[in-house]
Amino acid sequence: MRLAFILSEIGSGLRRNLSMLVSVILVTFVSLTFVGAAGLLQMQISQMKGFWYDKVQVAIFLCVDSSASPSCAAGPVTDQQRQNIRDLLASPSVDPYIAGEPIHESQQEALGHFKDQFANSPIVDSVTAGQLPESFRVNLENPEKYEVINEIFSSVPGVDVVIDQRELLEQVFSVMNVASLVAIGIAVVMIVCAVLLIATTIRLSAFSRRRETGIMRLVGASKTVIQLPFVLEGVIAAVIGAVLASGTLWAVSHFFIGEWLATEYPNTAFISSTQAVLLAPGLVLLGVVLAGVSSLLTLRRYLKV
């Protein structure tokens, strides 16, 4: 009986306050979408890290004719220098940092890779093997230890430059991190809007039903019976907003990332729409907590029990 009664109270409250309710739903929807977008970006970053960090290498480029660095002053790398570098890579001071065997990429192989990579570009036809440096590709035991390798090799005769491919990725990640920070920033502003709007809505709702709540008080209705319909009103609106936000995030990850980005960039690991769905319970919970807390605080002030 009491449950049915509370439900009917909620129903009448929702009908009476429909336009405010729609605005609460929309604001929670937008704010939680931004929260979720930030979450998706972070998931994407960690996905890409996992995917790329296994593959990225430190490349030790050797001198060619056109190299300008001081260690290349003597011209292109000699066989003696190449052997020195090979020995150094195998020496006890370097070996512990390296995972697996260093791979040597000759100029001819470099040209092959280059041609694959820029297959659609007219530049391919004008490049010869002599223009591309040969290199040693090294997988690091711990990718953070790049500086050690750089220190040891960058001044060795015959080495042009040591490049950490991870650094290139880090730039991509830092852009994505900034994007997710921006999303969080917008989300925070929107959440503040949502909380204030929920508070105002509940306040109006409590005011428009002050006659009922006054009588409820007089005949000895408990605090729960009096307050619950109002709190649930806000919570229901927030849950609807959270569900809409989850749906939007799923749609974006499924149609935009899954079906478009993933086909455009087949070599990149993208998050799946299933991962976006994992965010949904979190968003709903966040919506429930925000709406519940803000309506309880409002009721404490504006609804005497």
């Binding site: 009986m1 009491r2 009664f5 006659r211 009922e212 006054g214 009588i215 409820m216 008080r217 007089l218 005949v219 000895g220 209705a221 408990s222 605090k223 019976v225 009096i226």
Partner: protein, 253 residues
């Protein structure tokens, strides 16, 4: 007639058998430090089954008395006992239980305009979680007691003032409280209608409910010949067992 021989609420507190229903023990209530107290060292007792008129001009403290009994306000000094319990010692979460033992009627009826007569009375039972079957059984009974048989499905605006007040009384007693507080229940009604309301209140009192009625209506007080407590500027100036509205000093004879 309220059919139940036991007027106390089944879910309410244990009402002390012997103790006074309402006891004010040196109660002072100050709303604003700069003005005089609304109640000033009031001592009074209302026994179980009493019918008491609380008279006095506006601002004499009648409404404050009612608010203190309901624990809407706290006494500044002194203690208010309801059914033997000091209301100051009732924790906030138990206050609803206190209020279930007390029915209240106001001058302005306070009905819900969008609910029928039946729904208005049933509302008081729904919000304390009564079963639907019990509500369907009890509400018509109570409506009969207050003389509103067959008007279950009217809306409040279709009723006369007297009938609306009867609905309010039905709502106040439907949960079978031990005490009925009436704050100027006839204030908006003509004398004939008021008499009808008094008959209803008397009948409820006959059934064992303690009734405290704050009023300005001298005709009614004189006719009923019940106990009269007169307040003036927050002080009890008269307490007659079978009194009339005007005190001896006020030269009616």
């Amino acid at each position: 007639m309220v059919s139940s021989p036991e007027p106390w609420p089944r879910t309410g507190m244990k009402w002390a058998q012997k103790a006074a229903m309402i006891r004010f023990d040196n109660v002072t209530k100050v709303y604003d430090r700069k003005s005089r107290p609304a109640l000033d060292s009031v001592n009074l007792e209302v026994d179980r089954g009493d019918f008491v008129f609380l008279v006095g001009p506006s601002g004499s403290g009648k409404s404050t008395f009612i608010r203190l009994v309901l624990k809407e306000d706290r006494a500044t000094r002194g203690a208010v006992y309801v059914a033997g319990r000091n209301v100051a010692n009732i924790p906030n979460w138990r206050v609803p239980k206190l209020r279930r033992g007390i029915g209240v009627v106001f001058q302005d009826f306070r009905l819900l305009p969008n609910k029928t007569v039946f729904a208005n009375v049933a509302f008081a039972m729904q919000v304390i979680g009564r079963k639907r079957a019990i509500i369907r059984e009890t509400v018509p009974e109570v409506l009969r007691t207050v003389g509103l048989e067959g008007k279950d499905h009217r809306m409040p605006h279709e009723l006369s003032g007297g009938e609306q007040q009867r609905v309010a009384i039905a709502r106040a007693v439907v949960n079978k409280p031990g005490i009925l507080l009436a704050d100027e229940p006839t204030g908006n009604l003509d004398p004939t209608t008021s008499q009808g309301i008094m008959k209803v209140l008397d009948r409820i009192n006959q059934n064992g409910t303690t009734v405290v009625m704050a009023t300005h209506d001298d005709g009614i007080v004189d006719e009923m010949r019940k106990r009269v407590i007169e307040l003036s500027e927050g002080v009890v100036v008269r307490d007659d067992v079978q009194g009339i509205y005007a005190g001896a000093g006020e030269a009616v004879l």
